[in-house]
Symmetry: C2
Subunit: 344 residues, 2 copies
Amino acid sequence: MRRRRSRRDKITLIDVARLVGVSSITVSRALRNPDKVSASLREKILKMVEELGYVPDFAARTLASRDSDVIGVVLPTLSNFALMSVMQGIEERIHQTHYRVQYAYTRFLEAAAVSQIRLFLAQNPAGLIVTGLSPSEETGAILRSADCPVLEVLDISEETYSGLRVGIDTREAARVATRHMLERGYRRFAMVGGPDSRSRLRHAGYCDVMQAAGLYDPVLDIVENEATSADLGCRLLRRLLDRVPDIDGAFCHNDDVALGMMFECRRVGLAVPQQFGLCGFNDLDFAAVSAPTLTSVRVPRYDLGVRAADMIIRAIDNPGLEPLSVDVGFTLVERESTLGRSAG
Amino acid sequence: MRRRRSRRDKITLIDVARLVGVSSITVSRALRNPDKVSASLREKILKMVEELGYVPDFAARTLASRDSDVIGVVLPTLSNFALMSVMQGIEERIHQTHYRVQYAYTRFLEAAAVSQIRLFLAQNPAGLIVTGLSPSEETGAILRSADCPVLEVLDISEETYSGLRVGIDTREAARVATRHMLERGYRRFAMVGGPDSRSRLRHAGYCDVMQAAGLYDPVLDIVENEATSADLGCRLLRRLLDRVPDIDGAFCHNDDVALGMMFECRRVGLAVPQQFGLCGFNDLDFAAVSAPTLTSVRVPRYDLGVRAADMIIRAIDNPGLEPLSVDVGFTLVERESTLGRSAG
DNA sequence: CTGTTAGCGCATTCAC
DNA sequence: GTGAATGCGCTAACAG
């Protein structure tokens, strides 16, 4: 049941060429390599292009050049606030170039990731940006075998495929946050994470510090299989209070979970930060203005996206580039929610 | 500075064809129109495709068939939670088909919207989904002239180009929310909106009701030019209290703004809902669990996305389809934040 | 600096 | 039900 295009008089290179009185390849060059065409011709051509409203056919271009000008971005999901800012940064930077961004979603499924990456690679992308991949034999091998530069974004504390990477040391960020809570006097605080690879790293960082302090207790180490949400934070707090009566705080893998906990604390009459310390992750916009304000780990997500785009473009232009791992750093933003048990 | 592909032995239809002992067109058919190939051949071909890991070349396919299997989605921005859910719904539905989704962002710029739409149309998309467009001569004309079905998503209270539409009556939603606040006894509540077209409609709905009640006051009718955020809500509340000392509530065009106001109310010692009524929009996940819980207008965003995808696919398959406008409806979810001046 | 020739990988059209 | 010829619109490689 395929529709028939009315094939309205599509304007092609040849139309432009004919009207200017040159060959089509010259028009092509005027558009793609302007410096290879004399100024006068170039001017005439561009004017005609403008006049006719000529728009290049990407498919034809890709087919002919074996080069698609597409930078593929593989994401685990659409509904992730942290990733959205990164994507915005990527878009912003790539928007200034002749490259185009194209997305694929894996829904956190390893198998989907593999097939999406394969699909991208089969279309000869100019470059590939991947996020949220767990290190695995299969993805690693595919990525290493890619014909185009591949950049991994977000975490740099684990090796996935040993190429270009930009992000933060997630595990260390978790260590810093955990240490902070210890310093503020909390002893029995939970760590709430998810099933994804970055959460795994946050758990690892939490364990590192808690075990060293002799305070690790598996009952506090929570892996949730659902997407982060304030609602989840609510439910979790109730569950935790039930199972661990002497709990005195939580380190959440996303601020929205912490937000939910904060609200639930209020409802059950638990004072934050005096009775319950709360630390989030991502420094979402409400963290700075909540009451109390929320301690969180800030990652320069937008800049990270711009940086990522920068790196992939550079790699595309310089095929011989060395593997490179860029750490954009994080900041623990200390706010009221972890002021400590003796807070005013 | 273009890289040279190592042109690794890309597997083509011809490779598959040769190995099976048929012509390439038969392989093509086995893949695209399975019923036009005998069962036995089809089976052999598909097995070989699998074995070789053949992946079709979209560019070649598009060029040859003048049909790209791409459904273009034009969005104002990446960082909009409401749109995100809609996109998820779209992805979910289209994922089950042979179509692919491709995005373009306009950054709320009319000019960008026009050029993005032009760009899409020049690539022969199978269909186009647009959101957040203001009704304008130019976009309307382009959309009407498109060779493919075009679907407008989100609001159906205004005409933009008179084709397929699915969404809610935003203006009516604003009316319902405004009436609700009046019924609960609030008289001097602000309406906070943005510069986009849906916000404009919310303002209009608010005006409709407030003017009819003889309570409209322009000082309460606020158009903000920055993206919604909790932080904005905070600042706005302070500004409002300053300028309108007798203010008794706010209807915000997004829940995050209401959230910020809620926090700021707490800080300045204003009781919600007794002294200040608060109504949001979009029913984001925290609205149901905040303290107090937040009254909001719920729009079935995910389903809306699925529905949108459904509609565009149907329109693609049935070229002669009539213009159609589907109202998915909204719900005012009444919660604690508008319980009224005499609450609890 | 410009043109000619050829072909990217696939699907349409018409044969058989 | 299957195949042969042809061309989609553009650009690479070479020529001039």
